[in-house]
């Protein structure tokens, strides 16, 4: 198999993978689910739990604690968790004070690893439960990722196709075959980048 055909096939395969991710996401739309469990904090202590992954979309977190409990709920994304652990810097994507049992609505733009931290403001040991309800529906971030995979696949197959066309024609210009290949690849890449940026906008 020559290189042009090889890259064309790789591009086609990548496009197919992207299309299948797209359709599998649309076909099922993801059922709703609830994750969570019990927690316990010491006097004025903190409790943290890592969730892998929390999917994108709207969510609600239910916190069941005694009426006398006062605390703050933090949600950290992946980078925020790293910064919290490494330097102790708190940069949560959500911060909410609460007293007694509460229900907090929030939305995530991307799936990923998130850390839920509950900080107790009462001077005794407290126990409670948390539950995150993830609602079903089409995941926009997954669709976006599949679109990127499709775009990459089309670019690769386009480059493969261009290589094939260039190799099968005799040059009618002053460029060498390598220069012509490079120019064609550059033109295709620029074309796809412009299409991609247009889609993203």
């Amino acid at each position: 198999m020559n290189m042009a055909r090889f890259w064309f096939r790789i591009g086609v395969c990548t496009t197919i993978i992207g299309l299948c991710i797209f359709f599998s996401n649309i076909a099922t739309q993801g059922p709703s689910s609830t994750v969570g469990g019990q927690f316990s904090t010491g006097p004025n202590g903190t409790w943290a739990e890592l969730y892998v992954p929390l999917l994108s979309g709207s969510k609600e977190i239910r916190i069941n604690v005694p009426r006398s409990f006062e605390g703050t709920l933090y949600i950290f994304d992946y980078e925020g968790t790293k910064r919290l652990v490494e330097d102790g810097i708190r940069e949560p994507i959500l911060e909410e004070n609460f007293k007694g049992s509460t229900l907090v609505d929030f939305a995530l733009s991307r799936r990923g690893a998130y850390t839920i931290v509950i900080e107790s403001h009462v001077p005794q040991t407290s126990q409670g439960t948390t539950g995150i309800v993830q609602k079903g529906g089409i995941k926009a971030d997954m669709l976006q990722d599949s679109a990127i995979v499709i775009l990459v696949g089309l670019t690769i197959s386009g480059i493969g196709g261009a290589l094939k066309i260039i190799r099968s024609h005799k040059p009618t210009h002053n460029l060498s075959q390598k220069q012509a290949c490079a120019l064609a690849c550059l033109e295709i890449a620029v074309g796809f980048v412009s299409i991609g940026s247009f889609i993203c906008e």
């Binding site: 198999m1 096939r9 086609v12 395969c13 197919i16 993978i17 299309l19 299948c20 991710i21 359709f23 599998s24 996401n25 076909a27 099922t28 739309q29 993801g30 059922p31 689910s33 994750v35 969570g36 469990g37 927690f39 903190t46 409790w47 943290a48 739990e49 890592l50 969730y51 892998v52 992954p53 929390l54 999917l55 992946y78 980078e79 968790t81 790293k82 919290l84 652990v85 490494e86 991307r110 799936r111 990923g112 690893a113 850390t115 931290v117 995150i132 993830q134 995941k139 997954m142 990722d145 995979v149």
Partner: protein, 258 residues
């Protein structure tokens, strides 16, 4: 000369099975089944004062790969369908139509022909399944991809799992194909066998049959498994190895071509 001939046979078989659109269809089916949303969010308590970011990243990478490994079992049916087709095309179809006679009229041994055909069937399924699983793992938590590249033991475990699953399927389909010698019998028979195995493992709770045994392999590779898990995961592998050896011996010594 024989080694050279083996490589020539292998490249010929690979060209046959990797021709358009076999890998594309495999990829499409695997991706669709593996990427159907498996909503299973993992959660773990962490002690913020006693954990490093490296440990958190490692934990996330482990979960991503484990979920990918778990999702690989849902590719069992497409693997069974395509495995039956490849096994039939490589062996039974050629035996039935006399194409194998043409192969063997060249200065080559039956062993080389068998190994090249078996390897090509294995490779086409293994490469496509691995690609799909790696895509799944890297897209599961996208921030984590760099860790997965630098710590290759997780991705290698995933590929080992794909290899074990493919080995079981290809061994069953190829042996069915060689012993039946008829394309239609091989195609329907090997798929029916694999489908019945799946039904039995699901309905009768026989966890040493595939695909239930694949779950034990996942647990063994990614968590410390028990003795029963070792038993469940090794039964299908041992049986597949037995089938592969039996079909190799039959093909290289007993197979008579009319």
């Amino acid at each position: 000369m024989t080694d050279n001939r083996f490589l020539m046979n292998l490249s010929w078989e690979l060209k046959n099975l990797f021709r358009f659109p076999f890998p594309e269809i495999l990829l499409a089916l695997f991706t669709f089944t593996v990427f159907l949303p498996h909503v299973s969010t993992y959660s773990a308590d962490i002690n913020l004062n006693d954990v490093s970011s490296q440990e958190i990243t490692g934990q996330i990478a482990h979960v991503s790969t484990y979920q990918g490994a778990f999702a690989s079992v849902s590719a069992y049916l497409p693997l069974a369908v395509l495995g039956s087709i490849f096994g039939t095309l490589a062996f039974a179809y050629e035996i039935e139509n006399g194409l194998l006679m043409v192969h063997l009229s060249h200065p080559t041994s039956k062993r080389a022909v068998f190994l090249s055909k078996w390897l090509s069937c294995f490779l086409v399924a293994f490469v496509t399944l691995s690609c799909t699983l790696l895509f799944f793992t890297f897209l599961y938590v996208p921030e984590n991809s760099f860790y997965l590249i630098t710590n290759s033991h997780l991705t290698l475990s995933l590929m080992l799992l794909a290899a074990m699953e493919t080995f079981v399927i290809v061994s069953v389909t190829v042996s069915f194909s060689i012993f039946s010698r008829k394309a239609s019998v091989s195609l329907v028979g090997s798929f029916a066998t694999l489908y019945i195995l799946q039904l039995l493992s699901q309905t009768s709770g026989l966890s040493y049959l595939p695909p239930a045994s694949f779950y034990s392999q996942v647990e063994l590779l990614f968590h410390a498994g028990s003795l029963s898990m070792l038993f469940n995961s090794s039964i299908s592998l041992v049986f597949a190895a037995f089938l592969a050896v039996a079909s190799y011996l039959y093909f290289s010594r007993r197979l008579e071509l009319a």
